[in-house]
Subunit: 670 residues, 2 copies
C-alpha cells in the first residue's frame, strides 16, 4: 500500500514537471529575466524532487523485496531500472521547445575587431549601455564554465536532468571510495594482499591494453566511425574499472567463502584507483604524441602514472596518519562530536589536498580511508566509532543508489551520445577477453607460489563478477567532446547496465553452479583451525603469509607488518604494546615522548592479542543493506552482542594475525 | 602541541595559495584554455583546503578551551574571529592582478544589429568559426547564471573565497533549521507556545516595522546615501532574524531556567522563518508599488506573507506526516539503514517541494523537522533514532561553524560592499529599539494572562540575547545589486560580528548580574512539584495551560492537544493508546485499519504516561557541544544510562503533559 501511495505521489510530481514546462512556455511570451530565473529554479527543484522520489521508490521497493525475501534484484540494479523507465518517459513524451526569448545570441568580438577563437572562452564581459544616454557602459563579468553544447531545439527538461559529471567526481565517488577504503580493515584482505595487488595493478593494466588492442582492430573494420589508437586505450582504461557494489552485496548476503570475498573486494576497489590514474596517463600520452608511437611520451605517461599514484598514496596516507596522531595525543576523545568532525574534515581535506597538488583526489581518499581504518579508528571514542561508521554507511548507500539511478536516466537524456551497434558489440567482446586475460593467466602465476591455491571455481566466479559500475560511468561521461568519446560513453552505459542486471541477477545461481560454499561464518571455529594449521605449516618467512606469493612479495609484506607492529601502531594508536616495549633500549627517551598514559594503563588486565579485525569498521553484515537485512531478521541476537562488545571494549587491537611476528620481535622488546 | 602543528600546516597551505597565484600569473604569459582551467581548479581546491584548515583549527582550539575549562568564547565566535584574521590577511597581502588573457571581451549583438540590453542575459551562444574556412560555424551554448559583477582589477583569490550565497540557502541553512525543528520536541516549548508565537510573529513584525521606520528617518538625514522606504523595511525584516546558536549553547552549558530557555529557543527559531517570509513579502510590495504608498500592494504582500507561511507549513507538515505514516505501516524498521535513508530523503524532499511550489523551503523544512520529531521519531527503530540524531547533530555542527567562519572571511573579501559609519550606527540603534519594542510591551501583554509570569530579569535576558547570526547574514548577502543593499550587507555583517562576540561573551556575567538561577535540572523533583502545583491551581480550560495566554489561545492550544492525543498520535505513531481506544465506537472499523499489531502489543506491561519529551531528540546536553562537554567530563555516568534507556525503551510516548486532557477525554474512549 505504501509503495502504491508513493507511486501516486511520484506520478503527481512528474505531472507537475510537465505543467511547469508548459508554464515556462507561457512565460516566454512576456520575456523577463526574473521570471525565467524563477521558472528555471522551479524546474531544477522539480528535477531534484523527481530524483528524490525515485530514490524513495527504490527504497520502498527494496524493502518490499527484502520483506518478501525476493533476492533476484539488488537495489543498485533496481535504481538503474527505475532510472531507465523515467528517462524513457522524459525522452519520449517531451516535445522540443523553442528556446526562451531572453537568451541572447552573441558573437565573440574583442574591443575593436572581430575575434574568432577555437578556444572556449572562460569569462564574458558584457557592456550594459544606459538607454538614450551617452554615459559609460557598466561592464559586468560572467563566468562561463564548460559549454552546455546542445542543439538549440532540445527540450530544456532533458538538459536539467543531465547534470555536471564533476559532481560524481567531487561528491559521489569520494564518498563511495572512502567508504570502501574505510571498510577494508579485514584480516582476509591483508592475507591476500599479494594476489589483490597482482590482479588490481598488473591485471587492470593488461585488461586496458587488451581491450584497447581489440578495439583498435575492430574499429579499423568499421568505416563509419573514427577511433585513434589513443582513444582505444583510453576506453580500455575507462572500462577496466570493475564495480565493488553489486556482487559483493550478494556475497555478503550469502556469506560466501572469505578468501574469495577478500580477493574480489580488494581487486575491485584498488582497480578503480588504477583505472582512474591509467586513463589520466593515457590522456597525457595522447597530448604528447600525435597518434604515432612516441617513446618519450610513453615514458612520460608511465612517469605520470607512477607519480600520480605515489603522490595520491602519500597525501592520503599523510592525512590519515595525521588524524591518528591528533586523536592519539589530544584528549579530543572527551568530546565525540569534535572528534567526528575532525575525522570527517581531515578525510575530505585529503581529497582537496590531492586535487590541489594535481594528483588524483579519489585515489588519495581511498588510501586515507584505509589508514583511518587501520590506525585512527583504534583511537576513537566508542561514540565516534559508531558515528563515523553510521555516517559513511548512510552516505555511501545514498551515493551508490543515486549514481545507479542516474546511470539509468542518462541512457535516454545524456547529450550528446552516439550509438553504434558494431562498436558496442565489439566492446562487449573486448571486456570479456580482457577479463579473461586478467584472471586466468594471473591466477596461474599466483598459484605457483600460493600454498592456499585459488581454485578454478573461484577463478570462474571472479571472471563472472567483473561487472562495471559507477567509476567507469563517471570516467566515460567526464569527457564527451569528440565523437569517439561519445561512442565510448554510450558503450560504457550499455556495458554497465547489462553487466549490473545480468551478472548481478545471476550471481546466486552461478555460485550454486560453481559449487562455491556459502553460509561461511568468518570466524567459525573450523575456519580458524584450518587457518591455524595453514600457518603452522609455513615455517620460514615465505610461509608466514599463506595467502600471498612467496619470494620478494611475501618478504616485503612481512617486513612491513613487522615495522607496522613495532613502530607504526605503537606510535599512532592508543594500544599495547607501547613504543617503550617494542623499540630497543637506546630509543627509550623518544619512545617515552610518544607513549601516552592511556596506552600504558591499557590492556594490563589480559593479553593484547584480541583481534580487532573482527570488530571491523564495516562488519560483514554491514557492507550493504543486503547483509544487514538477513542479520536483523535471522540472527538479530548475534548482531547485538557484537555491537555491545564494540561499545564496552572499544580499545581492541588487531594483532591476532601478527602473532608470529611478535614472537620474532621478542628479542627487541625490553 | 597539536594545535601548533596544525597552525604550521595551515601557514603552509596559505603559502601554497600565494604560490599558486604566482603560478597563475606566469601561466598568463602563455594563455591556454586548459592551463587556466587547471589553475582555476587548483585555486578552488586550495581555497576549500584553507576553509577546511580553518575549521580544523577552530575544532582544535575549541577542544583546548574546553579542556582548560575556558568558557568565554563560544566556537561560533571563534570561527568568526579566525575568519576575520584570514580575511584580513587575504585582503591586505594580495596585489591586484591583471585579468587572465584568455578571458574574452564581448559586446552583446544580435544576428545583424547591435543589441543593447539592461536585462542580464541567461545564456550565451558563441559561434566558433573554423580558421581559414567558410564552413558554417559551430554554435555552442553557455549558461550564464548571475553576473560575478566585479571591477576587473580585483585579485582573483578574493573572488574565489566569496562563493554563491545560494549555497547558504540550499545547503547550510536547511541543515541548521531542520536540526532546530528536530530538536524542538520539548515539553517546555509546548508549554510556552503562546508566548513563543507572540514574540516570534507579532514581535518580529513589530521589530521589522520599528527598525524600518527608524532607518527611514535617519537615512533622510544622511545625504550621501539613498534608501527608499521599501529598502528600509527590507532591512528591518532581514535584521530581525535572531540567532539560536550562541546564547543557547551557553544556556545549555549552565542549565539555565527551563522556561527562559524554551522561550528564547522557540522565539529565535520561529522568528527566522518569520523574517525570511517577511523579507520576501517586502520585496513583493516593492515590486508592486513604486515607493509611494499603495494599499493594493500592501494587501498583496500581506497575502503573500500568509500564503507562503501557510503553504510552507502545509508542505513541511505533509512530508513529516507521510514519513510517520510510512514508518508506521511498513516494517521498514527491520532495515534501519533503509529507514534512515527514507527519513533523510523525505526531509530533504520537503525543502525541494516547497521551493518547487514557490513557497519557502527553509520554513517548510522547519515544520517538517518539528513533525518528524513529534510523530516519526516515535516509530523509528532504536538504531535509526540514534543515527538520525547523530547525523543531524554533526551536519549542524559543521554547517554552523562553516557559516560563522565564512561571515568572518566575508568582512574583508565580500564584494561589492559599501561602508557608511552613520548608517551602521543608526542600524545598531534601530535594532536595540526594535528589540525593546519586541520584548517589553509584549511581555507586559503576555503577563496579563499568564499565571507563570515572565519576570523582569527574564525580560532583560531576552532583550540581551537578541543576537543576529546566520539567517540575517544569508538574507543580507543574497541580494547586493543596488547600493542600498550593499550598505545593508555591511551593516548586517557588523551587527552579526558585534552581537555574537559581545552578547555571546557576556552571557555568563549577564546571567549572574540578573540573578537568573542556573544549574536547573529539567526534571528535578522540586521543579516537577512546582509544576504540578501550578497545574492543580488552574481549574477551567484557561488554567490548563499555565504557560500560555488564556482565552482563545489557550483554548485553541488545548483543542489541538486534545485532537493530537485522540487522533494524530494514535494514527501516526506505534504507541498506545490506539485509535480503537480513543475514537468513539462508531469509528471502530476505521480505527482497526489504522492500528498496527505492534501498537496493540505495546506498553501492556505498564501505564503509558511515561513522558517521552524527556527522551528528546536532542537532549539538553546535546544541543551544542558546549553542553556535551560538561556532561562527558562531569557526569558521564548520568549520560550513559540515559542513552541506554533510550535504547532499551525506545517506545516511550509523551503524554505526561496531557494528563488532564486525557481525563477530559475519558467519555470519548470506549
Amino acid at each position: 500500500m505504501a509503495a502504491l501511495s508513493m507511486l501516486a505521489c511520484f506520478v503527481a510530481v512528474l505531472l507537475c514537471i510537465r505543467t511547469s514546462r508548459t508554464d515556462t512556455k507561457e512565460d516566454e511570451i512576456n520575456p523577463s529575466q526574473s521570471t525565467s530565473a524563477t521558472s528555471q529554479h522551479r524546474t531544477d527543484s522539480l528535477t531534484i524532487l523527481m530524483l528524490l522520489g525515485l530514490l524513495l521508490l527504490t527504497i520502498l521497493t527494496v524493502w518490499l523485496f527484502k520483506h518478501r525475501r525476493f533476492r533476484f534484484v539488488h537495489e543498485t540494479g533496481l535504481s538503474m531500472i527505475y532510472g531507465l523507465i523515467v528517462g524513457a518517459i522524459i525522452r519520449y513524451t517531451s516535445k522540443p521547445m523553442d528556446v526562451s526569448r531572453d537568451y541572447v545570441r552573441a558573437k565573440i568580438i574583442s574591443e575593436n575587431h572581430s575575434y574568432y577563437t577555437d578556444n572556449a572562452p572562460t569569462a564574458l564581459y558584457v557592456s550594459f549601455f544606459a538607454r538614450n544616454s551617452s554615459a559609460d557602459p557598466t561592464i559586468r563579468q560572467y563566468d562561463l564554465g564548460a559549454p552546455v553544447d546542445e542543439p538549440i531545439t532540445e527540450p530544456p527538461l532533458e538538459r536539467t536532468v543531465t547534470f555536471d559529471p564533476e559532481i560524481f567526481f567531487n561528491v559521489m565517488l569520494p564518498v563511495i571510495i572512502f567508504e570502501a577504503g574505510y571498510s577494508m580493515k579485514r584480516r582476509h584482505f591483508f592475507r591476500n594482499l599479494g594476489a589483490i595487488l597482482m590482479y588490481a595493478v598488473v591485471g587492470t593494466t593488461a585488461s586496458c591494453l587488451v581491450v584497447g588492442g581489440i578495439l583498435y582492430g575492430t574499429t579499423r573494420l568499421m568505416h563509419d566511425i573514427t577511433f585513434s589508437l589513443n582513444d582505444c586505450f583510453y576506453f580500455g582504461a575507462v572500462i577496466s574499472a570493475t564495480d565493488p557494489v553489486t556482487v559483493l552485496a550478494l556475497f555478503n548476503d550469502l556469506h560466501v567463502d572469505v578468501d574469495l570475498y577478500a580477493i574480489v573486494f580488494g581487486e575491485s576497489v584498488l582497480n578503480d584507483a588504477v583505472a582512474i590514474v591509467l586513463s589520466e596517463s593515457v590522456e597525457v600520452y595522447g597530448e604528447l604524441s600525435s597518434d604515432s608511437f612516441n617513446t618519450e611520451a610513453l615514458f612520460q605517461s608511465v612517469g605520470k602514472f607512477l607519480g600520480v599514484f605515489t603522490g595520491a598514496f602519500a597525501i592520503g596516507s599523510l592525512f590519515g596518519l595525521s588524524t591518528a596522531f591528533l586523536t592519539k595525543f589530544t584528549k579530543l576523545k572527551d568530546f565525540p562530536l569534535l572528534e567526528t568532525a575532525l575525522f570527517f574534515l581531515m578525510s575530505y581535506a585529503s581529497f582537496q589536498a590531492a586535487e590541489a597538488a594535481e594528483f588524483t583526489g579519489i585515489v588519495a581518499v581511498l588510501f586515507c580511508g584505509v589508514t583511518q581504518a587501520h590506525y585512527t579508528y583504534n583511537n576513537l571514542s566508542a561514540e565516534s566509532k559508531d558515528r563515523t561508521k553510521k555516517l559513511f554507511e548512510l552516505a555511501n548507500f545514498l551515493a551508490e543508489n543515486f549514481v545507479f539511478l542516474y546511470i539509468g536516466v542518462s541512457v535516454f537524456t545524456l547529450q550528446p551520445l552516439q550509438w553504434h551497434l558494431g562498436f558496442i558489440l565489439s566492446s562487449f567482446l573486448a571486456i570479456v577477453v580482457g577479463r579473461f586475460i586478467n584472471i586466468y593467466p594471473l591466477s596461474f602465476l599466483l598459484n605457483l607460489g600460493r600454498s592456499n591455491k585459488i581454485r578454478p571455481n573461484f577463478q570462474h566466479m571472479m571472471m563472472f563478477s567483473g561487472l562495471r559500475g559507477a567509476v567507469a560511468f563517471a570516467l566515460a561521461i567526464r569527457n564527451t567532446e569528440t565523437e569517439a568519446h561519445q561512442h565510448m560513453a554510450s558503450a560504457t552505459l550499455m556495458i554497465v547496465i547489462v553487466t549490473v542486471i545480468l551478472c548481478g541477477g545471476f550471481t546466486t545461481p552461478m555460485l550454486q553452479w560453481l559449487q562455491i560454499r556459502v553460509g561461511v561464518e568468518e570466524d567459525a571455529p573450523g575456519q580458524m583451525n584450518q587457518l591455524a594449521s595453514v600457518r603452522n605449516q609455513g615455517g620460514g618467512e615465505n610461509g608466514q603469509q599463506p595467502g600471498s606469493t612467496p619470494s620478494e612479495k611475501a618478504w616485503l609484506v612481512a617486513k612491513w607488518y613487522n615495522f607496522d607492529t613495532i613502530v607504526m601502531k605503537p606510535l599512532l594508536t592508543n594500544h599495547r604494546p607501547t613504543l617503550i616495549e617494542t623499540l630497543p633500549k637506546c630509543c627509550l627517551p623518544i619512545a617515552k615522548i610518544f607513549t601516552t598514559e592511556e596506552q600504558l594503563t591499557q590492556g594490563l588486565g589480559g593479553p593484547t592479542d584480541h583481534d580487532s579485525d573482527t570488530d571491523m569498521i564495516i562488519d560483514e553484515n554491514q557492507l550493504s543493506i543486503g547483509g544487514m537485512s538477513d542479520h536483523s531478521q535471522l540472527d538479530q541476537a548475534s548482531v547485538s552482542p557484537n555491537h555491545q562488545t564494540g561499545r564496552k571494549e572499544p580499545l581492541q587491537f588487531d594483532d591476532g594475525d601478527l602473532g608470529q611476528f611478535e614472537a620474532d620481535d621478542k628479542p627487541l622488546t625490553p
